[in-house]
Amino acid sequence: MSDTKSEPALSITGTTKTFGSKVAVDHVSFDLYPGEVFGFLGPNGAGKTTIIKMIMGFVRPDEGTIIINGYNRHTDYEKAMASIGGIVENPEMYNNLSARLNLKMYARLHDGVTKERIDEVLELVGLSERADEAVKKYSLGMKQRIGLAQALLHHPKVLILDEPTNGLDPAGIHLLRDILKRCAHEEGVAVMVSSHLLGEMQLMCDRIGIINHGKLLQICTTEELMQKAMKSNSYRIKTSDPKRAQDILSENSKYPVSNLSSDTLDVEVDESEINACVRLLVEKGSDILGVQKIESSLEEAFLEITGGGINVE
């Protein structure tokens, strides 16, 4: 990242939270810099939301410091929180009030938010026309949009969104992506997005942090993650007798085999060697019905980093 040398907008050091005997977040430290979109990736129950809740002031960390825009969240609460905006879980509003009034009420709690700014963010998220309707009439996607409007209202230095694409239609997702990128790259906001969907992350984020079992396992740029994924290519070979094919390849022991099914098997092999591999099979008498490259191996990279398992609460 080009901005990594500047002051971090959000700095988390050694943050830990336990619930009873369960360690939800275990000594997590990372920095978030102005102008980047940081993805927080991890399976359900990995601790993403808990970390976000600690940053947003919902949960008090047991240990560690959280510094937002240079202010310690613990000792300088209001100044620190003035620089942050976001959505935790689903955006919840006062349902019987209009979106505009909801924003107006939220604006009162911040300094320097004008009426024009409210119109501006409503325009930005595409809700200008329905802003005077009660929020209870909104769809989930519209609620996400109004939540985003609220998060952006006071020009936060740090924008934190917890699974923001939930409930959004493709157009909404596209809009969200555009808004986030514009915020980060043009206005210099530090954006943090959590998700368990890799594809989304890939399109949105500059850097990705992977978390599982409350531990931050790795932080890398999206390109690094992609490269890691591309390196470990595998091919799916369709054959009438996969067992036989496996034996042939095992004898050779050069090509590791996995995911045996009734008519396919997956082979981990470099692009340069797939020709040799197929030839070997044909020579040894196995009938090849088809060869296909498995594209979605970003998941595998992810699984590899997280230790291969999806943990369930």
Binding site: T50, M56, M81, A82, R108
Partner: protein, 549 residues
């Protein structure tokens, strides 16, 4: 503090958009406006004085009375032992059938009725002073009839039995008849008082005579009707009682027949009461009957409407935190750059504001209702003594303060509901339990009455809730009845010092506040998503067992 103000405005905006709030406020306004009128309609205001109000006596009535007595008696001469005696009082000749043998009491009564009626019919100016119209004429009329009959009895004593005592009695009754006759026929209070004085000396009823004497000074023309005079006489008798208690240096005990030593506080209170009454008697600003009725009707309207206020603020307090937790809208408050205690305080202030607004609506409604009905002059200011001088608080301010004083218990209930709401995060539980607590008042009252001789009951919250009569000790002189509780509190059989009750309630409120704040501040707002195994997540005092979703 700006943030608290902003949060407070938000809170008020939010609540004021709820239709249920306006419905309850409307109910309050309607009840408080219509309540007093309903009270007047269903309550027979004459009932208070029915013992002393005589039925209308008109000229035809008296004629009829005389005629029927004559008819019943038949020919009076049949009993007469040829000795109809005549006696003269101040140039008027009375005829009395005096000396009969074997005459019975009912016959004497009939004779006296006939004679008395004749006298009134020939001498009384019915047009100028209808007998039932004023206290003076009606009381003098009764006095005249009674004295006349007494004289008749005396005259029925045979001549040979008339001793010195008889002569003394006879002469006194003649004097009394003279006074009461002047009082009746000339509508003269002075003579009436003299008549009563003679009666009082013989019967030991000095204080009653004294009361009428004061009454005659306030109403020298004798213009007050019976109920107005009786209303005033009640005040005067209180006044005389206070003076008597002060002179004897005693106070009335828990039961009305026992006396206890007068405390310093009570002495001051009695002295001030005497001062206020003296001033009121002098200025004619004592609570008139109309004022007293207005005050009762207003009290009724306010107390009925208070029910809706209780409902409103308990619902608001019980839901203010928990409903936001339930809908998740609390998030936008938590994300905002405001500390939690500010959120807590702003919400509490908003609830207190609703108590005040409700009180204002109720007070104005009831006062307006009675003002329009019975005239705004019936709404009397509150009298109190400060620095040895009598001062007043304007009516509307007083009425508001009175209502707020009545609502002191409500503050405690609100804090209770708020504390439960903050800790259980459950609106239903908070509202239900708090309403139950309000309703349990009646049960507590029964318990307290059962243990009224024990002092430990003083330490129950309920025992210290009703402070109105302690804050406004001179309510009586404003037409209000102070010896009743309110919808949400009751008067203790014995008096607990105000300072004790106030200290008690302040401590209780602080404890409830702390419990509420502890519940609110320690909330991790994670309840909705995490597994139900993390008991340690919520370190609140009343944390409920986690419910799995």
């Amino acid at each position: 503090m700006n943030k608290v103000l902003a949060l407070y405005i938000n809170e008020m905006t939010k609540v004021s958009r709820k239709i249920s709030v306006w419905i309850l406020l409307l109910c309050m306004a309607l009840t408080t406006f219509l309540g007093p009128r309903f009270f007047l309609r269903v309550t027979d205001t004459e009932r208070y004085y029915e013992d002393t109000v005589i039925s209308a006596v008109t000229k035809p009535d008296i004629t009829k009375m005389r005629d029927s007595a004559r008819e019943e008696l038949g020919d009076p001469n049949q009993y007469v032992d040829h000795s109809t005696i005549r006696f003269t009082i101040q140039n008027e000749v009375f005829e009395l059938f005096a000396t009969y043998l074997n005459i019975d009491d009912s016959a004497i009564s009939e004779y006296s009725t006939i004679s008395c009626a004749n006298s009134i019919l020939s001498n009384y100016n019915f047009e100028a002073y209808p007998i039932e119209a004023t206290y003076l004429s009606s009381s003098a009329y009764i006095g005249y009839v009674i004295t006349f009959r007494d004289l008749c009895y005396l005259n029925s004593i045979p001549f040979d039995q008339r001793d010195n005592v008889w002569f003394q009695n006879y002469s006194r009754e003649c004097d009394r008849l003279d006074y009461v006759r002047t009082a009746l026929f000339s509508h003269d209070y002075g003579s009436f008082v003299k008549y009563l004085e003679m009666d009082g000396i013989s019967n030991g009823l000095n204080s009653e005579v004294e009361a009428v004497r004061i009454l005659s000074k306030i109403d020298p023309q004798g213009k007050f009707d019976s109920s107005e005079s009786n209303n005033l006489l009640e005040l005067i008798s209180d006044y005389l009682q206070y003076k008597q208690l002060l002179s004897m240096n005693v106070d009335i005990g828990d039961t009305s027949n026992s006396y206890i030593p007068l405390t310093a506080t009570r002495r001051v209170q009695l002295e001030n009461s005497v001062k206020i009454l003296e001033k009121q008697f002098e200025d004619h600003t004592y609570p008139s009957r109309a004022t007293t009725i207005s005050a009762s009707a207003i009290s009724f309207g306010m107390q009925t409407a208070q029910f809706f206020l209780v409902l409103l603020v308990i619902i608001l307090a019980g839901s203010s935190i928990s409903s936001e937790m339930a809908t998740g809208s609390i998030k936008s408050l938590i994300i905002a750059p405001v500390k939690r205690w500010k959120i807590f305080l702003a919400k509490l202030l908003a609830i207190v504001t609703w108590i005040f607004s409700g009180s204002l609506v109720i007070t104005l409604g009831a006062s307006l209702s009675m003002g329009l009905k019975s005239g705004f002059s019936t709404l009397a200011p509150y009298y109190y003594v400060s620095g040895g001088h009598v001062h007043t608080i304007p009516y509307i301010l007083f009425a508001l303060l009175l209502f707020l004083a009545n609502n002191i218990p409500l503050l405690v209930y609100v804090l209770f509901a708020y504390a439960i709401s903050c800790n259980t995060k459950n609106t239903g539980v908070a509202v239900g339990v708090s309403t139950g607590l309000v309703l349990s008042n009646t049960i507590t009252q029964v318990i307290i009455e059962a243990f009224s001789s024990s002092r430990w009951i003083d330490f129950l919250p309920m025992s210290n809730m009703y402070l109105t009569d302690k804050i406004f000790p001179y309510l009586r002189f404003n037409g209000f009845v102070s010896d009743v509780g309110s919808v949400i509190s009751f008067k203790m059989p014995h008096s607990i010092p105000l300072s004790f009750s106030v200290t008690y309630l302040v401590i209780l409120s602080l404890v409830l506040l702390l419990i509420a704040y502890d519940g609110f501040a320690s909330s991790s707002f994670l309840v909705r998503r995490l597994s139900p195994t993390h008991k340690g997540a919520r370190r609140s005092l009343f944390a409920p067992s986690p419910v799995s979703r």
